[in-house]
Symmetry: C2
Subunit: 483 residues, 2 copies
């Protein structure tokens, strides 16, 4: 195929290449289940890629797509497969896959303006507020994912609690140290955010878990009191709605009460767990998520939207704006110009200036499945996790880590005759063998000194038939192993 | 169309919806030139959208696509149009539009691993290093855009220059204030980054421009000396390769020398201008961009890749890693596991954990056009800017702001009989009239107290035939206006 001009294709040419791409998408999605969940990328191909300099001459689109089909498509991350339960990375909503091309064809900058992508983002953010039970007046911004959502929420927290004005003067003049309280199960991106904000990792208090892997409330209050006595400034509690390892849901009403009493910002990392608010099982525990001052929620996790799609909500929209807004002269907006400039720019509420049209894929996903479709899919994930947990409980050669929560199951292989001292090495090796077998994909984690296999199920493609053979696969691999 | 299951479509169903999407893309791209560049989003539709709660029930894909075609597609940002020269937002490379669907179909997390998207990002980042003249051993990471690229570079700078260890202790214990030097023309995201890092805006020294709108070197050195005398810690110079307003290129060898002598980090915001290194005209001025310790370069600007696609390069890869790495237990990688875990994870080099497959659209764009195609397109943008500048120079009723640089032209309407005191209001109003006319799209900016119309040409769809009528359009609108 030769295009009429490399930069200006006719409708026919666009369709020819576009249909070829759609066929590749169809092939990839429908053939995945019969492929291994994962296979390592070939070393030779990697070397060949790294030895290839930037192309001097262009190549036809068809040739590039053929190379994609040959060298890229066969080596996915694994999360599109019915037997992937590695991390909180779902297979994508199919309509949202195509939304990405529509978004790229329009290619707006959603910094702001009076064009469709801006208003659609407002609608979508309102929809997500509605799901999380946040007021419509709250501030909200689509971001790349949990890392940026948590960073943004904590940046507003810092602005709200630091003295003097941290935007103007920075943190150096502040005499009292700002302290952030994070649960043991808090995501590492919370630590990264605290570091980036200049607060320092030493000023994170890691609060031990209670028996349910939740932030221990007594320990939290003691830590706050100790810091106050030491002359520090307790700044924020960063709680979790679905911890990374265990899916634990912290006790929001109690934490909110503590934050009120001690004047702390209440942030919740609900990047993974928030959508379970739609389920009958976890709805009640998550109903109080709206007590937070700020919340992270990733549509690219349990709303199954393709990456990247994160969201940060901040209850006080004006405070959010005050923490970030810096309207540069070439984007200045006055009243008369609002027919072009539109509502307040998104770039005033966060880190990014130019922003992509992330809203479209979320809008299409929510429109296509509706809350009803989401409720069913999320409840199915939870049911599969419960079913796996039941299997583990019923098996004398496996051990379940309890209490478990949401759609995460941590367990380990513990065959008769293997001593406690060898279990960590055994399970680490077993995990690797499983991943390399291509038969199923789990991740692993270390909790309280023990290594656990970790299933995280956010996968509408997975069925009971996929999960049922898992323990037998593990036994099969385990028996052939020597540690 | 009804899908066999909302989460599991057959190949036929995927193709039916996918082809419909491709047809929409083809229609959008080919019909844009005959539409207005921009038209305000209708107020009634906005109200209707905002009044629509999150859908309870799902809807068929076709119905959603029809709504897209009716309500979203007709109201673009404008940058896909041949007559858009508003901001540094290009029309997208067509093949890269479809790359977005392929990336979303595979939907990897490019945090790390031994799958295709990780290795393709390494290749693409190496290609971009090659273009910028950076060593292949440099650290590099695709990010959302210039805001995150500049933030990441300055975060490494802070880590390198702050004492004590800023990641551990934060900025509060440091006795000497960290100072960042930014040119008058520096992008506002540099200020935002300094604020977010906890350094504080008061500790930014805005260095005046020289006669060429570049960072004035004598003023820079004086400022550094004053800060040293005051006991501060000069941390970094953030120079520009293509300032926002004027496209000015700072004097890199001289700034690099100053940074060496005073032990400052040398960061360049080349988000916009870097790709002009491929042009004969600006290649020499940009050849020394590789003197920087860190560089921001946005493929979604002058490499015409759809948003979001930014890049940060840091010459010392180990320092970049040391500034960010925090490998959490559930992602721990040992030697034996590298067949699954792959090379060092990208998430160790920046802010994000889960990351999208941005590399694919950049890889396809560079593969399709090659450096040769890019050189031609970039030089054409520069030629169009020069041609507009020539037109302005030759017109007694327009004034050009000189010296101009790269593909930016700042000018204003200055008809006989209008006093200097009225020119700002006149040009502001004229800009708005132009934008609302749908006949051409410029932005505006205030420089040294005057308001200027600003053309920023990164637009392979634009031809001489598009730019030639611009002054006449402005005259036509101007004559009908009363200020």
């Amino acid at each position: 195929m030769t295009a009429s001009s490399p930069w200006e294709w006719s409708a026919e040419e666009i369709k020819r290449v576009g249909y070829q791409v759609v066929d590749l998408v169809a092939e990839h999605l429908t053939q995945l289940p019969s492929e291994p969940v994962f296979q390592p990328f070939p070393d030779e191909l990697r070397q060949q890629w790294l030895a290839t300099p930037v192309p001097r001459e262009g190549r036809p689109a068809t040739e590039i797509l053929e190379q994609f089909a040959r060298e890229i498509e066969p080596y996915p991350f694994g999360n599109g497969h019915p037997r992937f339960a590695g991390w909180v990375n779902p297979p994508p909503v199919i309509l949202s896959i195509f939304a990405e091309s529509l978004a790229a064809a329009m290619n707006p900058s959603v910094a702001g303006g009076n064009h469709a992508s801006v208003h659609l983002e407002q609608q979508v953010v309102n929809w997500l507020k509605e799901i999380a039970g946040f007021p419509l007046a709250a501030g909200g911004l689509l971001v790349s994912g949990g890392s940026l959502a948590n960073l943004t929420g904590l940046a507003v927290a810092r602005f709200a609690k630091a003295e003097p004005d941290v935007r103007q003067e920075g943190l150096q003049p502040s005499t009292a140290k700002l302290i952030v309280y994070v649960g043991e199960g808090g995501h590492s991106c919370l630590t990264k955010a605290v570091e980036l904000l200049g607060i320092g990792r030493q000023n994170i208090r890691v609060i031990p878990d209670d028996a349910h892997f939740r932030l221990d409330l007594a320990a939290l209050e003691s830590a706050i009191q100790r810091d106050l006595e030491a002359g520090h400034r307790p700044m924020a509690v960063a709680a979790s709605a679905g911890t990374v390892n265990m899916g634990a849901i912290d006790s929001f009403p109690e934490i909110a009460d503590l934050c009120r009493r001690y004047d702390l910002w209440f942030h919740i990392d609900g990047a993974y767990g928030t959508p379970a608010i739609l389920s009958d099982r976890y709805g009640p525990a998550l109903a109080s998520i709206n007590l937070a001052d700020s919340l992270a929620l990733d549509p690219h996790k349990w709303l199954y939207v393709p990456v990247e799609a994160g969201l940060v909500l901040v209850k006080d929209a004006e405070l959010m704006r005050a923490a970030f807004s810096l309207v540069p002269p070439y984007l200045a907006m006055d009243e008369a110009a609002q027919r072009v400039s539109g509502p307040r720019w998104f770039s005033e509420y966060g880190v990014q200036q130019t922003r992509g049209f992330r809203a479209l894929k979320i809008w299409m996903a929510l429109s296509y499945h509706g809350l009803k479709g989401y409720k069913a899919a999320i409840e199915k994930d939870i049911t599969l996790a419960e079913s796996l947990a039941d299997q583990v409980r019923a098996s004398s050669d496996f051990e379940l880590l309890e209490p478990r929560s949401l759609s995460i199951v941590c367990f380990r292989y513990k065959p008769a005759g293997v001593g406690e001292g060898q279990l960590n090495a055994l399970n680490q090796k077993l995990l690797l063998e499983l991943q390399l077998s291509g038969r199923f994909f789990l991740s692993g984690t270390t909790i309280r000194g023990n290594f656990w296999l970790r299933a995280c199920i956010v996968n509408p493609r997975m069925s009971q038939d996929d999960i049922s053979p898992l323990l037998e696969i593990l036994r099969d691999l385990g028996k052939r192993m020597t540690v």
